[in-house]
């Protein structure tokens, strides 16, 4: 009879473990978020052009605020849409 451990390996072993989220600004030492390059800001905006929450982007509070002001400035300058569909 197969013991419990063999059965467990039938399924993908690392389904359960959560990838450790980190704040990319602190890790790579980026200090300033430019509101003009929208390629970079696209990573923090979902398909409809709405800001992604911290639990998804993994940013720390300080840099999430900087990202949100940068996105709002980019929207003012029509570099990012306020609302759209299939932005990406």
């Amino acid at each position: 009879m197969a013991s419990r451990d063999d059965i467990k390996f039938l399924s993908n072993p690392n389904i359960g473990d959560k990838r450790k989220k980190y704040c990319r600004f602190r890790k790579y030492g980026i200090k300033y978020i430019d509101y003009k390059d929208e390629q970079f800001l696209m990573q923090f905006v979902n398909d409809q052009g709405k800001l992604l929450p911290r639990r998804i982007t993994g940013n720390s509070l300080k840099y999430q605020r900087k990202v949100s002001t940068a996105v709002k400035r980019a929207r003012h300058l029509a570099m990012l849409p306020y609302v759209t569909d299939n932005l990406k």
Partner: protein
């Protein structure tokens, strides 16, 4: 000396040199007010994310300058608001990280996001090398 950055969009319907002339007027206006121009960047005609004044693209300009204090900004913004060729503008005060970022970007240290992380570290090494 505070460093400011004004990004403005010029109506693309005008002819090419008319657009340059509008941008030129603001550069001279800034110099006239006694500001030191650090950098003037013509980002060219780009499509807008949403139509402004029934236009779907605009000529973007970004000017970076140093000014003694904030009164200059009031005058510049007043003339920007009055000028009907300017569709939209945004003035921002840069702190030291912003100034450093713009300089690095001009020296080509900051590439795409991926290289940005690597070049950030190499830049620190470069900085140390200079200091040593």
């Amino acid at each position: 000396m505070n460093q400011y950055e004004i990004t403005f969009i010029v109506d693309p319907v005008l002819s090419g040199d008319e657009i340059q002339a509008t941008a030129k007027t603001y550069v001279d206006l800034l110099e006239g007010e006694g500001c030191k121009m650090v950098h003037f960047d013509d980002m060219g005609i780009r499509s807008l994310a949403y139509p402004i004044k029934k236009r779907t693209n605009g000529a973007y300009f970004c000017s970076e300058f140093q000014a003694v204090n904030g009164e200059v900004i009031e005058k510049i913004e007043l003339s920007l608001r009055r000028d009907e060729r300017i569709m939209r503008f945004l003035t921002v005060r840069l702190e030291k990280y912003g100034i450093k970022y713009n300089e690095d970007k001009r020296n080509g240290l900051i590439g795409k996001k991926k290289e940005e992380s690597k070049s950030e570290d190499s830049e620190e090494k470069g900085a140390e090398a200079k200091k040593a």
